[in-house]
């Protein structure tokens, strides 16, 4: 009675059909806002508040967002904000990698008094609400003169990215047998060379995954740039909201277009190294 299943095939039962339907329903529910945003971005000013699906689509909004008119409407150069975001995020990720990779290695290899506390402390940067520290940071930034600067943004965004990098990479290092580095030591290599030539190349997938995740988290950050920047170092997340207008007219269609543009870089990145991303998201729970 039980038919042999080909690879990739599965048995169709009442339960599996119900489960599939539920997943589809969930997808429709969760992806609908995205669809709505896409439609909104293609509508002209007259249609933007309509709920009809029938309208004449236009790409004008994307052009407007990036043009001088967009800048006039919002007093923010959206293209410039994108570029600032790229620089901020790349900067934050680089700082996190340079400091975080050795830190993750140390945390994965050695236990010392308080090492777990230190790791937890670092993780707490992730789950503590940013609003908690934003007021003192604002004061500090003004005092130090790094308010509304890229250096200031890199500095604060690496607080977001560093814990990710360290925690993800630590699990990668823990999965590596320490005997590999021990073998290198006995081959006559110093500890640093053993780390650089043996351990580091083996966690490259982890570095890719954590760097990407860190980039996305930094890119998506809204609160820090909102409070700690003005016009000079405005990031894309803040720039998008300017199209909603501060009290004046709200350009929903332009906002949607800007948001879509802003979502492009991390989306492209995520798709290119999707393979590593799953492992990174699971924090290395899947042991290799």
């Amino acid at each position: 009675m039980a038919k042999e299943l080909k690879p990739g095939q599965r048995r169709v039962t009442a339960g599996s059909v119900v489960a599939d339907l539920m997943i589809v329903a969930w997808f429709v529910f969760s992806l609908f806002p995205l669809l709505w945003m896409l439609l909104l971005a293609l509508k002209n000013d007259a249609d933007q508040t309509s709920t009809y699906f029938a309208f004449s689509p236009t790409f004008d909004n994307f052009v407007t967002v990036l043009s001088q008119r967009g800048q006039d409407l919002t007093s923010v150069d959206f293209g410039q904000a994108m570029w600032t975001s790229v620089l901020n995020c790349v900067g934050a990720v680089l700082v996190s990698l340079v400091v975080g990779v050795p830190a993750a290695y140390a945390a994965g290899r050695w236990k010392y008094r308080g090492s777990e506390n230190l790791m937890f402390q670092m993780l707490s940067f992730r789950f503590a609400p940013e609003l908690m520290v934003i007021v003192p940071l604002f004061v500090i930034y003004n005092t130090l003169g790094i308010f509304d600067t890229k250096v200031g943004m890199v500095w604060v965004l690496q607080l977001v990215t560093m814990p990710l990098v360290v925690w993800i990479l630590r699990s990668y290092f823990q999965d590596l047998s320490p005997e590999l580095e021990q073998a290198a030591l006995l081959d006559g290599y110093t500890r640093i060379r053993a780390f650089l030539t043996v351990a580091l190349p083996l966690v490259r997938p982890g570095i890719a995954a954590s760097a990407l995740l860190a980039f996305i988290f930094a890119w998506n950050n809204y609160v820090f740039p909102l409070i700690l920047t003005d016009s000079a170092a405005t990031t894309v997340t803040v720039a998008v909201t300017k199209f909603l207008g501060g009290g004046g007219q709200a350009y929903y269609n332009l906002t949607a277009a800007a948001a879509l543009l802003g979502a492009l870089p991390p989306l492209v990145l995520a798709l290119t190294i999707q393979r590593y991303l799953v492992r990174g998201l699971s924090f290395g729970a899947v042991k290799a």
């Binding site: 047998s177 005997e179 021990q182 073998a183 290198a184 006995l186 006559g188």
Partner: protein
């Protein structure tokens, strides 16, 4: 080449004492085997010599130089790990070249490296694998590459951690023979860790038996086999294990298994409380054919065959002697079948006498049942 001395070496991992007060002196060029069950501290011992484990107490002295505070890469030792520890991202060739490229094992031109690697891979029969990655190798091949990474370089000491443990039985026997030749070839002081008594006996110039982090006995294979210091060592060597029977002294006789085992009480031994534990190895026992008599002076045990297992040319018999199972390994043409009543015999020189003790506890060996130790007679 160098001597290796361990003095009072101790190491604990948290609450677990891995090795305790270990003293060993290994001669220049010696092939020294460390034998023990898993968890006996064998690997910790090796890694202490390599400097990969920070010892709590004691010292490692290589070539007369204390290794306290000396980094692994300055110790000039090579180690084959039980897990192989081959670099996954490097080819076999690059794995083997790794110690030659570090600059701490000597300077080698590309041609020198090639020549050394060729020599060692030819010996190990892996020269067709040089372009492969470790993941593309079988366990046996990986093991050889790991050994090759040791042999390719000159070192004061070679440390080999269970280098044959992951091989199947046939390959293991073959590699054991090869290793013996390699050991003799390279003449480098070697520390070889194993839980396999056959490897230990076959390879070692001397053997150290470890138990729960403590040294139990050091000696040549012959000494360890013939005169184990206690019943633990006696049991550790030999498969099937040595037969042990509780015995009592009465009327100048030593009797066990309800009188089924009866031999003259050895007067040269101090049998405290008139009690002792007798041991005889399954291979030392013989099965008497019907109609023949045991050699003069042999101890004879009568029993009923409970189980007869064929092991090829040999057979393993489980014989019920006075309510105790005695294992005998004998020629399969001995003719005994399950249910038969048979006579077993064993020369007095092959009967080991251990001190009496509580069941399940190991006790020291007092000596042989014969007046003179066989080790002295035969060596």
């Amino acid at each position: 080449m160098a001597t290796v001395e361990l003095t009072g070496l101790s190491k604990a991992y948290g609450d677990v004492q891995a090795i305790t007060g270990l003293d060993l002196a290994i001669g220049d060029g010696e092939f020294f085997v460390v034998l023990g069950p898993s968890g006996a501290g064998k690997t910790t011992t090796l890694k202490s010599v390599a400097g990969l484990v920070e010892v709590d107490d004691g010292d490692v002295v290589i070539a007369g130089r204390s290794m306290r505070g000396v980094e692994p890469y300055h110790r000039n030792v090579a180690m084959a790990f039980e897990s192989y520890a081959l670099y996954p991202q490097k080819t076999v060739f690059d794995n083997l070249a790794s110690p030659l490229r570090s600059g701490r094992t000597g300077r080698y031109s590309a041609a020198d490296q090639q020549q050394r690697i060729d020599a060692v891979t030819t010996t190990l029969g892996i020269n067709h694998l040089l372009r492969r990655f470790p993941r593309e190798l079988s366990n046996g091949q990986r093991q050889r590459v790991a050994l090759g990474r040791v042999l390719v370089r000159p070192a004061d000491v070679y440390l080999l951690d269970e280098p044959l443990s992951h091989l199947d039985a046939k390959l293991r026997a073959q590699m054991r023979a090869e290793l013996k030749q390699l050991g003799e070839m390279s003449r480098t002081t070697s520390l070889y860790v194993t839980h396999d008594y056959q490897e230990a006996l076959a390879l070692g110039d001397r053997i150290a038996v470890l138990r729960a982090g403590r040294l139990v006995q050091v000696g040549t294979p012959h000494e360890i086999w013939r005169t184990p210091v206690d019943s633990f060592v006696a049991k550790a060597l030999g498969q099937p294990e040595i037969n042990l029977l509780e015995a009592e002294v009465a009327d100048g006789r030593l009797r066990a298994a309800g009188g089924a085992v009866d031999l003259p009480a050895p007067r040269h031994l101090d049998l405290a409380g008139g009690r002792a534990r007798l041991g005889f190895r399954p291979r030392d026992l013989g099965l008497l054919r019907a109609g023949s008599t045991a050699p003069v002076g042999d101890v004879v045990l009568r029993g009923r065959v409970g189980l007869a297992e064929r092991l090829g040319r040999l057979m393993e018999f489980s014989v019920d002697v006075g309510g105790h199972d005695v294992i005998v390994v004998a020629d399969s043409d001995a003719g005994a079948r399950e249910g038969d009543v048979v006579d077993l015999h064993v020369p007095l020189t092959d009967v080991h006498v251990f001190a009496a003790g509580p069941a399940g506890e190991d006790t020291v060996r007092l000596g042989g049942a014969a007046v003179r130790e066989p080790a002295q007679e035969r060596s």
